[in-house]
Amino acid sequence: MNNINEFIEKFKDQFIDADEFELDAQSEFRNIDSWDSLTGMAILVMIKDEFKVDFSENKFRECKTVQDVYDEVLKIS
């Protein structure tokens, strides 16, 4: 996946209420109401699926925005 918009779409899909909010590259995803550790796990599974990499929980914890996550994932894939 070499397109941030596709990444944002797939990122958003992991939230149980994905249809009820907007998400862009600068969104601080942990502020979304339905965010919790399960959503985080689903996102890490999505990253493993799409990029075939194990994105570490520690690195993930350091990321604030969707762009942060995308940039870090690209570094290791």
């Binding site: 149980i16 339905s34 399960l38 599974v45 493993k48 929980e57």
Partner: protein, 340 residues
């Protein structure tokens, strides 16, 4: 003539005391009642009293099964007890159940230690005993009290698990209105994941160790070696990546396709994980049975409880093919098909 093993009947028992979402919210105000139910699909969990054990839940489930099914206790020639909470290190709890349930002394009795895959394993063992001519009428009891292993500060685990027991009769003949003939099995084991769901202390390896509460930087509880620890991410990954190809395998082994399956009854871990694995296995919602809002994750009893509920809701009928999948602690998974 081919010998088959049939599930004749199933019943279950839940302890009366409850841990509700309201009670969890009171202990952990940052988790709203709605958020808990939306994420887990659970509203309340049965919890055994301090002096009530897995064996007691098992006795209750079996007595209920005998009373409601009319099956004669003296016909039972084997009792298999699945638990990770035996009464003693020894003797075998199933031996004590023979006496407590008034089963014949001619019956065999065995405990086995399995969790989420336990019911499917039990069917495998029962089928083996029947097909090899060792037994004809097997009482399989799954019983668990994970609540006793969970630390009161452990927000996540206390939200997910419930205590329960289920009793199942598997025999060499059909009986009663509805019977599930047990087909072929697929098993999976990955011992490298042994510490992803574990109670570390109290067994032979760390018998006299005492755990301490380990907290994170914000003072939130992470783990205590005396208690149940679950690496949620690892278990979630296991469910997401390992289970879907195994569904294809069990279908292939039984020479069936997805279209042949009328109902899928998976181990009821929590709603979020179930929906994730359902989508990844490409199973349509209307074929995927979910029942956990009033019992939570009862470990080895989730599948027999769900099968009982599916039947009473009219979703399970003669003629149907049902794929059952148990997966979790071990890491372990087991799959089979039931032909009703």
């Amino acid at each position: 003539m081919e010998v088959l093993a049939y599930i004749n009947d199933i019943n279950y028992f839940l302890p009366q005391k409850r841990l509700t979402n309201q009670m969890i919210n009171q202990m952990h105000p940052e988790w709203s009642v709605d958020k808990i139910s939306a994420k887990t699909g659970i509203y309340s969990r049965p919890i055994a009293d301090d002096d009530v054990f897995a064996s007691d839940l098992g006795v209750n489930a079996a007595n209920r099964l005998f009373e409601q099914s009319g099956i004669d206790r003296s016909a039972i020639d084997f009792i298999i007890f699945c638990t990770q909470s035996p009464d003693y290190f020894l003797p075998t709890t199933a031996c004590t159940l023979q006496a407590r349930l008034g089963l014949p002394k001619s019956a065999g009795a065995l405990d086995y230690n399995q969790g989420c895959s336990g019911f499917v394993y039990g069917l495998g063992l029962a089928k083996g005993l029947i097909v090899s001519g060792q037994a004809n009428n097997i009482l399989l009891i799954t019983a668990e009290t994970y609540s006793k292993y969970i630390n009161p500060k452990d927000k996540s685990n206390k939200t997910i698990f419930g205590d329960a027991a289920a009793a199942t009769i598997i025999s060499n003949k059909p009986a009663g209105a509805i019977n599930g003939a047990v087909q072929d099995f697929v098993y999976y084991t990955n011992g490298e994941g042994f510490d992803k769901l574990i109670v570390k202390n109290g067994g032979a390896k760390y018998l006299n160790e005492t755990g301490v509460d380990i907290l994170d930087d914000e003072g939130a509880f992470i783990r205590n070696d005396d208690n149940l620890y679950m690496d949620g991410k690892a278990v979630f990954e296991f469910t997401s990546f390992v289970i879907p190809p195994l569904i294809d395998q069990v279908l292939e082994k039984n020479k069936l396709t997805r279209d042949d399956i009328d109902l899928y009854v998976f181990h009821q871990a929590n709603d979020f994980m179930l929906q994730t694995v359902r989508k990844r296995c490409k199973i349509p919602e209307d074929k995927f049975f979910i029942y956990l809002k009033d019992c939570g994750n009862t470990v080895s009893s989730t599948i027999p409880i769900a099968l009982t509920e599916a039947q009473s809701q009219g979703r399970l009928k003669p003629g149907m093919k049902v794929l059952i999948a148990g997966f979790g602690v071990g890491l372990s998974a087991a799959f089979t098909i039931l032909q009703y």
